[in-house]
């Protein structure tokens, strides 16, 4: 193979690679995918949103259990059932603080779950309307009025 031919081959391979990457990237944009592969788009977006809802449901319950665990520890501390080791971080003050933190985490997890469910509902609405809201040139959606 002559050097010139080898260069031409290399250029062609690099160009094909670049075009491939660009095509894959474009294929994954909602604007094109909603035209070219609407069912695949539904599988990807709705599937991900469904998995997220399951994750967030589990997280919400885990946070609730954490709050319950700290509540139980605090109650047992106050009853004198638990004795802290000398170098332990557990004191009544740290337990009260931990309970507040656990409560905040649980509320945050409930919010996250709500957002995940809203995302899933939005994707399902978009699918039912034929992905009109994702396509280029769709009318801008205004801010929701309270």
């Amino acid at each position: 193979m002559t050097p010139r031919l080898r260069d031409a081959w290399l250029r062609a391979v690099c160009l094909a690679g670049l075009l491939g990457v660009a095509a894959l990237g474009l294929w994954r944009t909602p604007e094109l995918a909603s035209y070219l592969a609407p069912e695949h788009l539904a599988d990807v977006l709705i599937g991900r949103a469904e998995n997220l809802v399951v994750d967030k449901e589990g997280e919400r319950d885990a946070r609730a259990a954490l709050e319950q665990a700290v509540t139980v520890r605090l109650a047992e501390w106050r009853r004198g059932l638990t004795v802290s080791a000398p170098d332990s971080m557990i004191t009544e003050a740290s337990l009260v603080m931990a309970l507040r933190r656990a409560h905040t985490l649980r509320v945050e997890a409930a919010d996250d779950l709500l957002r995940a469910r809203e995302t899933l509902a939005r994707y399902k609405r978009l699918r039912d309307t034929g992905w009109q809201g994702l396509r280029a040139g769709c009318p801008a959606v205004g801010e929701a009025t309270p």
Binding site: D61, V70, L81, M89, M97
Partner: protein
């Protein structure tokens, strides 16, 4: 560098790589399925209880009951999830809660552990204040928790091999 030093370093590197690979395989593939073979998809209660009892026994606690339990089939396909908070009793009478989560693996046709952990143990980050403990102690506590979890998994695997038949041999 002499030849014997090079050989020793090479052997040490091989041992380290094998140890890390073995640990990853054990923690990621072997342990999650241990002791759960044969439990059907709708037997999630049995699976959750078996996992909670097994971990509680290894930690020297007694399983009491589940405070909460959820079965959540996936919206599509055969996958499913189950989770719950297990109440256990320590030797000194204190109550300890464990979080247990499982998922149904349709490929393997069995439940596998998603995670088992004690809720709010001493040294947990939930007790950390803004400046207490310091960064070094925080790192030590996190590492200690990580290694304690790994050690508990190994002990549980050994205990399960002794009590349940038909498990893959780990050579432990």
């Amino acid at each position: 560098m002499t030849r014997s030093v090079r050989l020793s370093l090479g052997a040490l590197a091989v041992v380290l790589v094998l140890a890390v690979a073995g640990t990853v395989w054990f923690a990621g593939a072997a342990y999650p399925a241990m002791g759960l073979a044969g439990i059907p998809r709708d037997g999630y209660r049995q699976a959750l209880e078996r996992v909670a009892r097994s971990r509680a026994r290894v930690d020297g606690r007694t399983f009491v009951a589940f405070d909460s339990m959820t079965f959540r089939p996936a919206d599509r396909g055969e996958a499913a999830f189950a989770w719950g908070a297990a109440r256990c009793r320590a030797a000194d009478g204190a109550t300890v809660l464990y979080w247990v989560s499982l998922r149904w693996n349709p490929g393997r046709g069995q439940w596998v552990r998603g995670g088992v952990r004690e809720l709010a143990p001493p040294g947990n980050e939930i007790y950390f204040g803004r400046n207490v403990p310091g960064q070094i102690l925080r790192a030590r506590l996190v590492l200690r928790e990580l290694f304690a979890e790994l050690r508990a998994r190994f002990r549980e695997a050994v205990s399960l091999q002794g009590s349940v038949t038909g498990l893959p041999s780990l050579g432990l």
